[in-house]
Amino acid sequence: MIGQVGGALAGGPVIPTFGTTSKCVLQNRTFCWDWFKDRWSSTFVPALLQHIQLSVIAVVIGFAIAFVLAVAAHRARWVIAPVTFFTSLLYTVPSLAAFEILVPITGINYFTVEIALVSYTLLILFTNTLAGLSGVSPEVLDAATGIGLTRTQALLRVELPLALPTIIAGIRVAVVTIISLTTVAAYVVPAGLGKIIFDAIGNSVFNTAFIGAGVLCILLALVADALFAGLQRVLTPWAAARRGG
């Protein structure tokens, strides 16, 4: 699925010369609908899909790692300090620097991009998952143990369901962060909406490409956030009951 975005912009001139060039494009007005619509299916849609794919892979892998670490830390508290230190370290590395550091090691490829993106999800997802698990009230846990749930049963049937709102809140932050960071990743591997933006910045300033990709990126983040907010409501009807909803 991941492939080069359509050649329309790749290294090409600022103002594409093919097709009919509208007055809007010639004058480089703020936003040219006609230009945007012409390139919607050939340029923007593939870039958008690629962007989604890069982000989803990063969050899924990041969550898998963070979840395992959080469950381990919940059982063995000593795990918390080293994991928090390491993931904080990863989180504080400036994103551009991270990509630059990785390229000599892993090369210019999607693997490099994902390593960097995943490392940015870890702190948020680990912290929130652990907070969710730790936030289960002691008397609920005492009752769960006292009526005969094993540790694993208590984790799966009580702690994780109760941690879900906090876990999903973490995923929402991670998703929005990663959708934004994936744009920066195009600096290393030209892909996703970031590629359109970098091309636009690099070659001059053609407003429509820049704004179109930028707005798509923002919309993607908003839609993803809303999706997870909806998912949380569906998965935790009891939380709505508690809020009196």
Binding site: S137, A143, A144, G146, G148, V158, P161, L162, W238
Partner: protein, 387 residues
């Protein structure tokens, strides 16, 4: 009163149980031994730090004992896996600990599901339990956060009873409830217990609650010493030492009176007359308790001390104060004190004359100790639920 499948109750025995926590100089429990017969409520009571909760939590292995043994139905609790053991023991705690993400039905059926009951059997049991705790069936689909504190506590009891365990552990189950609702929940539980007859270990720091709920009370002192293990009446009548006497309070005599209902003692006979009948021999004979009744046998006036040939309604003193046979001796004494300690008329459940209670009767009752097998005891030994 709906009765859920009344299953089994198992005797419980603490055998020389000691629990020491690491880093503590003195053990939390020191060679604790006592037995609770099947179907009885045993209350563990004492000041904080006396180890009562620790003792309770040893039973379902929430805490493991250092030495000694605990036997349920003659079998050591060490013989089964903790989770299996706990599924066979009801567990109710002060803050209930219902699962906020499960509705009431799912909360109630957690243990049956763990035990592998099928869906139909779980649903039937849940319906039965809601009825047992007097919650409307439609509450089953609500979440715990939508219930009041008292309702949540009832659901907690239902959850503990779900798989019909022979033994229940209750750790200050009504401690977080306001006094009015606490009283109601206590009474409800006593009625429930009369129907289900479980063996119950009940932990509280409140001696009044212990007296009310317990068939037997274990009084513990700091350091896990069992100071006295006895029936409520004997603990009040014959405290083992100063500690117990102080713990049960200076008003222990009154507390004892509160334990006995008027229908549990032999009341003084009352002679019943109708209008036009004569009062004479009867009044002179013995107590002098004479009551004027109407044609339905309901009392209308007091004729104590009267002697006349043809009773007229006008001669009778109106009955300002009467007692019910379900009132306690303490209620009777309290009412007498507002009326120069004169004997008072007691009515039965139908409102007919049951007899008279006098200060002498109350005095007699205080002199007898319930729980003793004295043949002279005229008091019913059965403890009854307060109403």
């Amino acid at each position: 009163m709906p009765v859920a499948a009344t299953g089994t109750a198992a005797p419980l025995e603490f055998r020389d149980v000691t629990k020491s926590f690491p880093g503590m100089e003195t053990p939390a429990l020191d060679h604790l031994s006592f037995e609770v017969p099947a179907g009885e409520v045993c209350v563990l009571v004492g000041p904080s730090g006396c180890g009562k909760t620790t003792a309770m939590r040893l039973v379902n292995r929430m805490i493991d004992m250092t030495s000694g043994d605990i036997l349920i139905d003659g079998k050591s609790i060490k013989g089964s896996q903790p989770a299996d053991l706990r599924r066979a023991i009801g567990y109710v705690i002060q803050h209930v600990g219902l699962f906020p993400h499960k509705n009431i039905l799912d909360n109630i059926t957690v243990v049956p599901k763990l035990l592998g009951w099928d869906r139909k059997r779980c649903a039937e049991r849940a319906e039965e339990l809601l009825e047992l705790i007097s919650l409307p069936q439609e509450m089953g689909s609500r979440y715990p956060s939508q219930l009041s504190g008292g309702q949540r506590q009832r659901v907690g009891v239902a959850r503990a009873l779900a798989a019909d365990p022979p033994l229940m552990l209750m750790d200050e189950p009504f401690g977080a409830i306001d006094p009015i609702n606490r009283d109601r929940l206590q009474n409800e539980f006593l009625r429930l217990q009369q129907a289900i007859k479980k063996t119950v270990v009940f932990v509280t720091h409140d001696i009044d609650e212990a007296i009310k709920m317990g068939d037997r009370i274990a009084i513990l002192r700091e350091g896990g010493d069992l100071v006295q293990f006895d029936t409520p009446d004997r603990i009040l009548a014959e405290p083992a030492d100063d500690f117990v006497a102080r713990f049960v309070g200076a008003d222990r005599g009154l507390k004892r009176l509160a334990l006995t209902k008027l229908d549990e003692i032999d009341l003084e006979n009352a002679t019943v007359v109708r209008e036009g009948e004569s009062v004479g021999l009867e009044a002179a004979n013995g107590t002098g308790n004479v009551v004027l009744v109407d044609n339905d046998g309901r009392p209308v006036g007091d004729l104590r001390g009267h002697q006349m040939s043809a009773v007229r309604a006008a001669d009778a003193r109106p009955l300002e104060r009467t007692l019910r046979s379900t009132d306690s001796l303490r209620d009777a004494l309290s009412m007498m004190m507002t009326d120069s300690l004169r004997p008072l008329l007691v009515l039965d459940a139908e409102g007919r004359v049951a007899g008279y209670v006098s200060i002498d009767l109350i005095n007699d009752a205080l002199r007898r100790v319930r729980g003793d097998n004295h043949s002279d005891s005229g008091i019913n030994l059965e403890k009854t639920a307060a109403t």
